[in-house]
């Protein structure tokens, strides 16, 4: 069988990478890159040699066989496409992306790799504007999904996680705590002086018959404001 353990695959990949940059590959190069003992490297090379993936003369240079080079390239390509997916598309930071790619590359199937490659290439061919749209839409989807999840958890009473919205998104009867008033808002002063400030609890009492404005209760009195004005008030849903 041509099965290679993840660590052997790593050795093979590392040999390929060194060979792409240097004229020759020595055992000490591998030792340095993978941060392992020379003895382990020699042991691994011996197995790879037996599997006819590398040629290695004692104390000499390491060379990939044609079969070894193909195998190594396949692994390296998997690594590259996974890294692109994690870092460039999903926005995972470089270190984590590299680390995860290094792990997954050993287990992922050819078919899945092919599909991921197609998807990543599709996204990368999109124009910047479209890409932003796609990604922000995706981002919104994620946030909403997260919210929904949290809200259902709330109902179950299992997990008291709250959700943050702007006031205009509250439903009739919902109670919320004010988190923040947009400091750039022109109506900030007016809201503050009427007691609309962080920490205050508000309940949406009513929506006008035509859908706007809304009637909220805070500090024991009714206040009405348009939804467009309620946008500048961030709240945390309580119930």
């Amino acid at each position: 069988m041509n099965f290679l353990s993840p660590s052997l695959e790593d050795y093979l990949e590392t040999i390929l990478m060194v060979s792409l940059q240097e004229k020759v590959v020595r055992v000490k190069d591998i030792v340095k890159l993978l941060n392992v003992k020379a003895a382990s490297v020699i042991g691994a090379i011996k197995i790879l040699n037996e599997k006819k993936l590398v040629n290695h003369e004692k104390y000499g240079y390491i060379e990939l066989t044609t079969k070894g080079e193909m195998t190594a390239k396949k692994i390296y390509e998997k690594h590259q496409i996974l890294f692109r997916l994690f870092h460039k598309v999903l926005g995972v930071d470089v270190q984590t992306a590299v680390k995860d790619a290094c792990q997954i590359e050993h287990y992922i199937s050819e078919e899945t790799t092919k599909k991921i490659t197609e998807l990543v290439e599709y996204i990368e061919t999109l124009s910047d504007k479209k890409k932003d749209l796609w990604l922000s839409d995706f981002g919104n989807f994620l946030r909403e999904a997260a919210l929904k999840k949290k809200n259902t958890q709330n109902k179950d009473g299992r997990n008291q996680v709250s959700s943050i919205l702007t006031l205009n998104n509250l439903k009739i009867g919902q109670k919320a705590k004010i988190i923040k008033i947009n400091p750039e808002s022109k109506i900030k002063k007016q809201l503050l002086s009427m007691g609309v400030l962080p920490g205050v609890e508000v309940t949406v009492r009513k929506v006008a018959p035509l859908g706007d404005p809304i009637d909220i209760i805070l500090k024991g009195y009714h206040l009405t404001l348009r939804k467009e004005e309620a946008v500048c008030i961030e709240v945390e849903v309580l119930e």
Binding site: P198, P213, Y221, R226
Partner: protein
């Protein structure tokens, strides 16, 4: 010199300030405007234990942050006029938010009395407010009143005298916490040494600078130390914001409210055993602002208002009209007997009596209108009306509260224009006033009846309706255009308290009604009168001509203008003169045409059928609808705004009226 104590009443809207004011002063009050603006200023006097006291009712406000005109007026008055005593009127059922203003007044350094008004409401709910504790913590006198029942007013009077006699400097300060207090101290030291704006209390000045109060920043501008102060303040703010993680203004307001929350909690004691009743306001609102019932109820109430103002008003107006007709008849008879020259008789009858009559004829409508408006406002319904209609009016570029003035305009533009006073935002108010004359008032109806009856007998209703509709469409278009020209980027926010429903006080309602009515007579009356006399002169000069004949000045003016109207299909001097007379009052147009053609009733209809075509008749009606509001409306616009806006209202309506009439005639001619 005789002692005279100056008192200012300050408080949130709906805190019962006006009721206190009325209770203190009774009939000894005077309504005017604050200098330079159209916000009402009320003052009055009373005597207590031989001392004369002068009370000023400040506009209802939530804070002294001066983001609105009302707040600026209140603040300027408190700072510049330095009243001896300020009474903070507190709605006891909403202690925390009402005390917020009181705290700001204290920070401003005024001599303050706290008046817990509507104490009966909260005590009925079984809540007792510990006024001793409140007085101790805030170190000011605290009294209780229930002004709508006239209770506690004497306590208030004696408290005013007491605090005036003692003249202690108030030392109350809110502790803003170490970080803020450090910066306050730093800035105080800096400003104190420089003696900048020393007429303000130092601590207050520093707080306003940290809050980035626009008014104070404007006062700093131009001082030699401007840059230095700005830099210092900016440093403090940057430091604090880094520390708090949000803006300093919010932090300051937050700490004031935190203090008040604690205070309110400490001072309010719930007496057990009294079951809390379900809030009556909530129960009324369940119906009145209901998703399905809200709009029908609103429209129903508007219909009722309309009916009351115009149906009840009409017989009274007719009575006044016939009285002046009768008086004119008597006088002209008397003149004949005395063999006085014709022009004197005409001056008295057509000029003066007609002029006074044309002013007084509006009085019943206006009194009724303000009777209803003050009931709607006093009961708390007005805010709900704005809540319900805001969506519609907002798309027009107006405010929810603009609906009532617009609707009243269908009856008469004068009450419509005056009703715009209920709008807090100056821009919204002016915009509402400017387009109000496009609401087809009832005085235009006789013109429609005559012309539509003569030319479109079968479709009379439809034709008249189309004119009303045209007025509404034009109002929307004009409002949007004016908004984009004059009030760019000015989207007045709707942030409004929906006050609890209350039974309006009969006394307050009547005082309110009388104030508005007499104000109208005084201010608008003079302009209307002068206008009427002016038109009379035009129609009577040069000496010896027949009144309003072709040879009179007005006739000549009509002949001069006639070619201009020939583009709209009615280029006769008679039509032009009748339109000129229409400036006095639109209903005169029909009468004038009758006089000029020397016919009446059915005869007039026949003459009209010869002089006009259906198309030119329609153009004439459109012109009558749109061009210059009558003198009374012009005078009211002037009274409510200034000459600039009045000139605009007159100018745009003239041009628009002419353009629409010409377009109707010219485009119509293409098809016939």
């Amino acid at each position: 010199m005789k002692k005279k104590i100056k008192i200012a009443l300050a408080g949130n809207p709906n805190s019962g300030k006006t009721t206190i004011f009325n209770n203190l002063t009774g009939s000894r009050q005077h309504v005017g405007n604050w200098p330079g603006v159209t916000v009402e200023k009320k003052d009055g006097t009373f005597t207590y234990e031989g001392i004369e006291m002068k009370v000023v009712d400040l506009p209802g406000i939530y804070s002294l942050a001066s983001h609105s005109l009302d707040e600026k007026i209140a603040r300027d008055f408190l700072i510049e006029e330095k009243p001896d005593v300020v009474v903070a009127i507190i709605d006891s059922s909403n202690l925390e938010r009402n005390l917020y203003l009181a705290v700001q007044l204290l920070e401003l350094g005024v001599n303050l009395i706290l008046d817990l008004n509507m104490i009966d409401i909260i005590e009925n709910k079984g809540i007792k407010i510990d006024i001793k504790e409140l007085s101790r913590v805030m170190s000011i006198p605290v009294i209780k009143t229930a002004a709508n029942k006239g209770k506690g007013i004497d306590n208030l009077k004696s408290a005013v005298k007491d605090i005036y006699d003692r003249r202690e400097k108030n030392t109350f300060e809110i502790d803003y916490g170490n970080d803020l207090e450090n910066e306050i101290r730093n800035l105080s030291r800096f400003l104190g040494e420089k003696k900048i704006l020393s007429r303000y209390s130092l601590r207050w000045l520093v707080l306003k600078l940290l809050e980035q109060d626009e008014n104070i920043l404007a006062k700093i501008k131009g001082l030699p130390e401007e840059k230095e102060v700005e830099k210092k303040v900016f440093e403090s703010i940057a430091k604090l914001e880094k520390h708090f993680g949000y803006d300093v203004e919010t932090a300051i307001v937050e700490r004031r409210y935190a203090f008040l929350r604690g205070l309110a909690k400490e001072c309010c004691h719930k007496i057990m055993g009294i079951r809390e009743r379900k809030e009556i306001t909530d129960r009324i609102d369940q119906i009145v602002t209901n998703k399905f019932l809200g709009i029908p109820i609103f429209l129903g109430l508007m219909w009722l208002t309309f009916q009351l103002v115009f149906t009840f008003g009409a017989p009274l107006a007719a009575l006044i009209d016939s009285f002046f007709g009768w008086l004119g008849g008597i006088v002209s008879l008397g003149m004949n007997v005395l063999a006085a020259p014709a022009w004197i008789s005409s001056l008295l009858v057509d000029g003066i009596i007609g002029g006074v009559g044309s002013v007084l004829i509006f009085l019943p409508n206006i009194l009724l209108l303000f009777l209803i408006i003050s009931i709607l406002e006093g009961s708390g319904y007005m805010a709900r009306a704005a809540f319900i209609m805001d969506r519609v009016m907002h798309t027009m570029g107006l405010h929810g509260k603009s609906f009532i003035p617009m609707m009243l305009g269908f009856g008469c533009n004068i009450p419509g224009i005056m009703a715009a006073r209920t709008l807090e935002s100056e821009k919204d108010r002016i915009l509402t006033i400017l387009v109000n004359p496009l609401m087809s008032c009832s005085a235009r109806l006789p013109i429609y009846t005559l012309f539509a009856g003569a030319f479109f007998a079968k479709h009379q209703g439809l034709v008249v309706f189309s004119l009303y509709f045209m007025g509404i469409v034009l109002a929307i278009v004009v409002a949007r255009i004016f908004k984009s020209i004059f009030f760019k980027q000015e989207v007045a926010p709707l942030i409004m308290e929906l006050p609890p429903y209350r039974l309006p006080q009969v006394k307050s309602v009547l005082i309110h009604m009388w104030e508005k009515g007499s104000l109208f007579l005084k201010k608008a009356g003079t302009i209307i009168f002068v206008g009427v006399i002016f038109i009379w002169l035009l129609a009577s000069l040069p000496a010896g001509v027949e009144y309003a004949s072709k040879e009179s000045l007005i006739g000549k003016l009509g002949s001069l203008l006639a070619p201009l109207f020939s583009l709209a299909g009615f280029g006769t001097w008679q039509a032009a003169v009748s339109l000129l007379f229409g400036i006095v009052a639109k209903e005169i147009v029909v009468g004038t045409l009758g006089t000029l053609y020397g016919v009446e009733g059915m005869g007039l209809k026949n003459v009209i059928l010869q002089q006009f075509t259906p198309l030119s008749a329609y153009a004439f009606m459109a012109m009558s609808l749109i061009y210059i509001p009558c003198i009374a409306a012009i005078a009211t616009i002037k009274k409510e705004t200034n000459w600039k806006w009045t000139a605009l209202a007159v100018g745009y309506s003239l041009i628009l009226g002419w353009v629409v009439a010409v377009l109707i005639y010219q485009i119509g001619s293409l098809f016939s």
